[in-house]
């Protein structure tokens, strides 16, 4: 884990200053307007920084690479499937309260249209080869998040005769989210971390 305190509001784009207006202190009448103002405040340094990154980047595709990187990390389509308990929290993250679509995360039912496989639950040996097939059907570039303990390492069921002890035995995993199941916030946090990973990725 990094040294940054995880319990503080983290900026959406790393490198940006953390929000100077913590939501809790301002408390205006209409939170909506406040959030819009906050985001506008954030957007300008973000744009400046993105431009700076573009200029700093040297090479043949110095303009397109940041753009595509930006596009790739801001539009992650996860595969719409539910394995076990975490799938309910996965669905809750797309519910009204957490609304993962805010980050451009829209679940798609067809693996062809996905960038991100969130393994949200226990993987059994019976479903293992189907999971691998789905992973292979996803076009590059693609990422895998192991959500919850069952996907990470079998969780409470790791001793069972039918359970794969960790999905990393089957497909390469980019990010593990601990929790049993993780809260929807924790899942969103994982997606933001993944965005950060994509951002730092050297191609």
């Amino acid at each position: 884990m990094s040294a940054a305190p995880e319990n503080l509001p983290r900026p959406l784009t790393p490198g940006m200053p953390p929000p100077v207006l913590p939501m809790a202190d301002a408390a205006p009448a209409i939170p909506f307007l406040e959030i819009e103002a906050l985001r506008a405040q954030q957007f300008i340094p973000a744009a400046k920084e993105a431009l700076g990154a573009m200029i700093a980047e040297q090479g043949r595709d110095r303009l397109t690479r940041p753009v595509f990187n930006w596009a790739g990390r801001n539009s992650l389509f996860p595969l719409h499937w539910g394995l076990a308990c975490c799938a309910i929290e996965f669905a809750a993250a797309f519910g009204a309260r957490w609304d993962a679509e805010r980050f451009g995360v829209v679940p798609r039912s067809s693996p062809r249209q996905c960038d991100l496989m969130i393994v949200n639950g226990t993987v059994t040996w019976k479903v293992a080869h189907k999971l691998v097939t789905l992973y292979e059907q996803m076009p590059e570039p693609k990422w895998v998040i192991a959500m919850g303990n069952c996907a990470t390492g079998g969780g409470p069921f790791r001793t069972a005769y039918s359970v794969v002890p960790g999905v990393d035995k089957l497909v390469p995993v980019d990010l593990y989210i601990a929790g049993c199941p993780p809260r929807p916030e924790a899942m969103l946090d994982g997606i933001l971390k993944l965005e950060q990973l994509i951002r730092e990725r050297k191609e």
Binding site: D25, A27, P31, F32, N149, G155, R158, P182, E185, L188
Partner: protein
């Protein structure tokens, strides 16, 4: 409610409104959520933030949360190494076997101090360990974000758990009462050799070795060599960790009801 028989009456009359009624309902919700949608703008607004919780709730138009009564969430553990007595109860009680007792500085070289190291890739956040902790040094905080890129980073050493503790996050306030009639550590005196192992390893030092009168063997009877001391357990200090039973070389300690 008169009867639970769900009648045909719930079917709508085929009026011109058959499409308009659901649309009006949706529109009503639209109006309600236009300024105050019940979405938490997550990285900025946080449910565990008490100030945020003040502003939302069923009465406020944003149906999020139920007021102030939910600091109860079981998240990542916090460990206060200073008060940990190395009793092993957390590791015993863990249903997922995710707790290892590892050596931490602070003990003497002969009996090193051990504190829990938790593998969050296995932990199911059931709270059995913090319920079992007799000193209240292992608690669960409301922190839930824990995403890492390597599996090994999920293993939290005692020092890391101590860092969580030092962050002073809201703790899970539930302390579970002990049952009234607990079993006690009983002694089978005939087997005891007075070796002091139990008293030495007792994490709470509630076992004292008392002298007992030396019994001369009858002629011809073979008696094991022993020290003429016997452990006496102070039940009010005992945390029932069972360390003494496990270290006893002669298996002369056992659980039972003290009469």
């Amino acid at each position: 409610m008169a009867g639970a028989q769900v009648e045909e009456k719930t079917k709508p009359s085929r009026s011109i409104l058959w499409v308009a009624r659901p649309m009006l309902t949706a529109a009503r919700q639209f109006g309600r959520s236009l300024l105050r949608p019940s979405t938490i703008v997550y990285p900025f607004e946080r449910l565990e933030d008490p100030k945020f919780r003040d502003r939302v709730g069923i009465g406020s138009g944003r149906p999020i949360g139920v007021g102030h009564i939910w600091d109860n969430y079981r998240g990542v553990h916090a460990l206060n190494i200073a008060t940990c007595i190395s009793c092993n109860l957390c590791a015993f009680s863990c249903p997922d076997l995710c707790i290892d007792m590892v050596t931490v500085p602070g003990g003497d070289p002969k009996h090193p101090k051990k504190s829990p190291q938790i593998d969050y890739g296995k932990c199911s956040y059931c709270g059995f360990c913090s319920d079992a902790c007799p000193e209240g040094c292992l608690t669960m905080t409301t922190r839930y974000e824990l995403s890492v890129t390597k599996r090994a980073e999920m293993v939290y050493s005692p020092q890391k758990l101590q860092e969580v503790f030092e962050r002073k996050l809201p703790m899970n306030p539930v302390r579970v009462e002990r049952p009234a009639n607990e079993d006690a550590i009983l002694l089978e005196p005939l087997l005891c050799i007075g070796c002091n192992a139990c008293a030495r390893d007792c994490p709470t030092n509630c076992i004292t070795m008392l002298d007992i009168p030396k019994v001369e063997p009858k002629p011809g009877e073979k008696v094991a060599k022993r020290i003429w001391k016997e452990p006496v357990v102070n039940d009010s200090d005992c945390v029932r960790c069972g360390t003494c039973i496990s270290v006893c070389p002669k298996e002369c300690l056992f659980w039972g009801i003290r009469t």
